[in-house]
């Protein structure tokens, strides 16, 4: 998320300042020490620091600002950019839902693997396009949950002290934030798998919740952690209204082979992207623009879109000195005005007659 925009900025011929996140200090430090060894450090600079440094940077005049982060800080960035009329790209987040239509057998197994991989695979759920919550028809929930539990055990193990192949929570603040989500009334009661915490190592077990209260924070804010609420519906089509009642997410994932449902999802919901029958993988398809809409952000990048995001597309019109169109110039009179009117309507016959002075013969009652 540092290098990808950097590639776009450089390809487009800009000089760049990067402010990596202080919440990932080892990476920030690595970038800060390595990039100057390889790149032209008169034109590419790294500035490390926290929000005070970011504020200082935001006071300066930039020709573009590319921000990845939360909507709250996105507003701050855009307000600062407004003072200098600086265009921005905001890559924010949201609650990315996965819709699971009815599947069985090996297809269900594959779907479950991709859902588990899409929830806990990317940074233990701490990803903008990570699955936030799941929508499924009520009668399919039990089979799904069993399959999901087996999958989690296979992928990550079932002991919070010894989880494999999964990230930890980035810091104590976020750990506590996620724990708080679980403590709201009704939420703790809805945990049906996991829920174990290891505060010392900042690990939270992959956790599944079944129908937590919809007004709880876990269902109104982006979770950004390893908790997966499953919301059951009478009919899977209700997922469309459910999603539309909430801010536009960065991604919608839909596991379905029902063409009608696919079309309805595409036409009736709005999101940065939609992926059918998989999760996360749209991120590596460079031909697709990556970006949000509404609360999930605006602007886009990846592939050529990165180049375009940091470019100005200048329209250039070349003209020659010949021919000259006399009716373009004043003093204007009825003849010239009529000429231009005919030209705009591509009325070539009329134009010819007009030039020969014969048009009046053919249109005696022309209203003006």
């Amino acid at each position: 998320l540092t290098l990808d925009p950097l590639i776009g900025a450089i390809s487009a011929g800009n000089t760049v300042v990067i402010k990596p996140s202080e919440l990932a200090p080892a990476c920030s430090s690595l970038l800060s020490s390595t990039i100057p060894l390889y790149l032209d450090n008169k034109a590419v600079k790294i500035v490390e620091g926290g929000s005070d440094i970011a504020q200082e940077l935001l006071q300066q005049q930039w020709d573009k600002i590319f921000f990845t982060g939360s909507p709250r800080v996105g507003r701050i960035v855009m307000s600062a950019a407004a003072k200098h009329l600086t265009p921005v790209t905001l890559e924010l987040g949201g609650k990315c839902p996965v819709i699971l239509d009815s599947y069985s057998g090996s297809d269900l197994k594959s779907a479950v693997k991709r859902i588990a991989g899409g929830k806990w695979g990317p940074c233990a759920g701490q990803a903008c396009i990570g699955i936030d919550y799941l929508l499924v028809q009520q009668k399919l929930a039990p089979v799904l949950i069993e399959s999901l539990k087996r999958c989690i055990k296979r992928f990550y193990g079932d002991n919070v002290q010894n989880l494999q192949s999964i990230c930890r929570i980035v810091n104590k603040n976020h750990f506590d934030r996620i724990c708080n989500l679980l403590e709201e009334p009704g939420v703790a009661a809805s945990i049906i798998y996991g829920g174990s915490l290891d505060r010392e190592n900042l690990m939270i077990e992959p956790t599944i919740l079944l129908d937590p209260p919809l007004d709880a924070q876990i269902m109104t804010e982006e979770i950004f952690g390893p908790l997966l609420p499953i919301i059951t519906l009478d009919k899977i089509e209700e997922s469309i209204d459910f999603i539309n009642a909430r801010p536009k997410p960065l991604a919608i994932y839909a596991f379905t082979n029902d063409k009608k449902l696919k079309d309805r999802i595409l036409q009736e919901t709005s999101s940065g992207s939609v992926t059918f029958n998989d999760t996360i993988i749209q991120f590596i398809c460079d031909a697709l623009p990556f970006g949000g809409v509404g609360q999930s952000g605006f602007g886009r990048y990846h592939g050529k879109y990165s180049f375009d995001t940091f470019s100005h597309e200048k329209g250039v019109l070349h003209r020659s000195f010949f021919p000259e169109l006399e009716p373009r110039y004043p003093p204007w009179n009825d003849f010239k005005l009529e000429f231009i009117r005919l030209a705009y309507n591509f009325d070539y016959v009329g134009l010819l007659l007009h030039l020969l002075g014969l048009r009046r013969l053919f249109i005696p009652n022309r209203a003006r």
């Binding site: 250039v316 019109l317 010949f322 110039y329």
Partner: protein
């Protein structure tokens, strides 16, 4: 304040939520209604423009009526093609899959228009908004009240007012509108208010298009057809609302040697166009109001400027007219060289070598347009590569606005975003990425537990090296 201004965004959101604006038939019906307005009420619109700006009928027709009509017809012709999903190529990394990009409306959008081309600068963004399937609110400029009233009346009569609304008013109404949540804001005007719009949009994370202005330079080289160049510059400056245009040539740069020839050519063509007493010509717009009139007189009467007037300088406050005026080498620190003139005054700056023009232009804020009259290929290429501006024309002025295949918009202080033609449709659309996958070809290397073998395989796949992939497959 008129009733309902505070809740207009919410009202239109309800209409948008019902889905009708997404329907292609609805969009077509609205575009046809716009075309009807333009065709059936041309006289009324021209009259309103005459009342607001003393705009000559010729300009009203060419710049506003014909422009709006062309934009409407283009949208009607291309709408189906524009709304079709765009298929894109996928690679080995997501195999097997198919991908495409779908254009969808943003939702409820706000168009804030301005006074100098009050009809087309309202209609053209609306065409974009409607083609893209949005509901739209238009706030026309109160500085052109006759056109504002005509727009309000005609759009109210012909358009589906549950989804297309006009809100008339001035600063209080605009402020109330800006507090509401929009899915896009399209603003045409000056950079001071542009900042206010952008700051208001930031509160709701609303993307914006800002069509602002700037000091658009014209560079005049020697060895050109001087008569044609002079006519085209005059046409782009005084023939476009008497210099009150965002892309008007603001100032000229030419060589010391060539300057007097240029001034003579201007003087000659000016007389051909506007007669010996331009204040009497009917082919020039007036200055829009007395505030702008006083502002322009101030620029002209500045002691750093007034002694350098080589043509014009006459004024008639009762008619709000200022004669086309040319100033030769006003000092660099005069106001006229530091703010957008937006009026019938044209400074000419002279340089030793014509190539010096690039340094002068790039030392100022990026303008909305830049113009070069030259037959020198090297100068043209250097100019295009080194001068950053919204748009550019070589050997003419302002015409690029009429070319729907060119994006029209600014950069830096001159704005952000663009429109015209399909760019209008795109400006009001969200391009949604869609990836379709099947269940075949599911590889376990993707899933935990992550092992060294899996990691090697993935690295090999990404390297694209066949031998490496084979080795990884066999664990060698």
């Amino acid at each position: 304040m008129a009733a309902g201004v505070e809740t207009v965004a919410e009202e239109l959101r309800a209409a948008y939520g019902g889905g009708k604006t997404r329907d292609l038939e609805w969009r077509v019906s609205q575009l046809k209604a716009l075309l009807k307005i333009i065709n059936l009420h041309e006289n009324e619109i021209v009259e309103a423009l005459r009342s607001d700006l003393n705009k000559p009928e010729y300009e009203a027709f060419v710049h506003e009526i014909a422009g709006a009509s062309s934009a409407c017809k283009l949208a009607l012709k291309e709408l189906r093609r524009w709304t079709m999903p765009e298929k894109v190529k996928t690679t080995m990394t997501t195999y097997p899959s198919s991908a495409h990009i779908v254009s969808e409306p943003l939702g409820v959008v706000l168009v804030i228009s301005t006074w100098n081309y009050p009809f087309i600068l309202s209609i053209e963004p609306i065409i974009g908004a409607i083609s893209a399937g949005n509901a739209v609110v238009l706030k026309p400029s109160e500085v052109s009240p006759a056109t504002s009233a005509v727009l309000s009346k005609l759009l109210g009569e012909y358009m589906d007012t549950s989804a297309v609304r006009v809100v008339e008013g001035s600063v209080p109404e605009t402020t109330v509108l800006l507090e509401q949540k929009w899915d896009k804001i399209f603003y045409t005007g000056n950079s001071k208010v542009g900042r206010i719009v952008l700051a208001a949009a930031a509160k709701h994370l609303t993307p914006v298009v800002l069509e602002l202005g700037g000091k658009s330079p014209v560079v005049v080289d020697s060895n050109i057809d001087l008569k044609v160049a002079a006519r085209r510059i005059i046409s782009g400056k005084w023939g476009c609302n008497n210099g009150q245009t965002c892309v008007s040539p603001d100032y000229v740069i030419t060589t010391k040697e060539y300057a007097s020839k240029l001034v003579d050519a201007f003087a000659c063509e000016m007389e051909n166009f506007y007669g010996k007493d331009p204040l009497q010509s009917n082919d020039l717009s007036s200055v829009v109001n007395s505030r702008h009139f006083d502002r322009l007189i101030n620029l002209l009467d500045d002691e750093k400027v007034s002694g350098k007037i080589v043509l014009g300088g006459q004024r008639d406050k009762t008619k709000l007219k200022i004669a086309p005026s040319i100033i030769l080498n006003p000092s660099e620190d005069s106001l006229i060289m530091n703010e957008e003139i937006f009026g019938p005054l044209l400074p000419i700056i002279t340089v030793d070598k014509i190539e010096d023009c690039i340094g002068i232009i790039t030392s100022k804020e990026k303008p909305l347009a830049a113009y070069l009259f030259s037959n020198n290929e090297k100068l043209k290429n250097d100019f295009i590569s080194n001068v950053s501006s919204g748009g550019m024309v070589i050997n003419d002025t302002t015409l690029h606005l009429a070319e729907a295949s060119l994006p029209f918009g600014g950069v830096g202080e001159s704005g952000m975003g663009s429109y015209h033609g399909k760019f209008s449709f795109d400006a009001f659309s969200h391009k949604k990425a869609v990836l379709k996958r099947g269940f075949n070809g599911d590889v376990s290397v993707r899933y935990p537990p992550y092992t060294n073998g899996k990691l090697n395989f993935v690295k090999a796949m990404l390297s694209g090296n066949i031998l490496r992939i084979i080795r990884a497959l066999f664990g060698w």
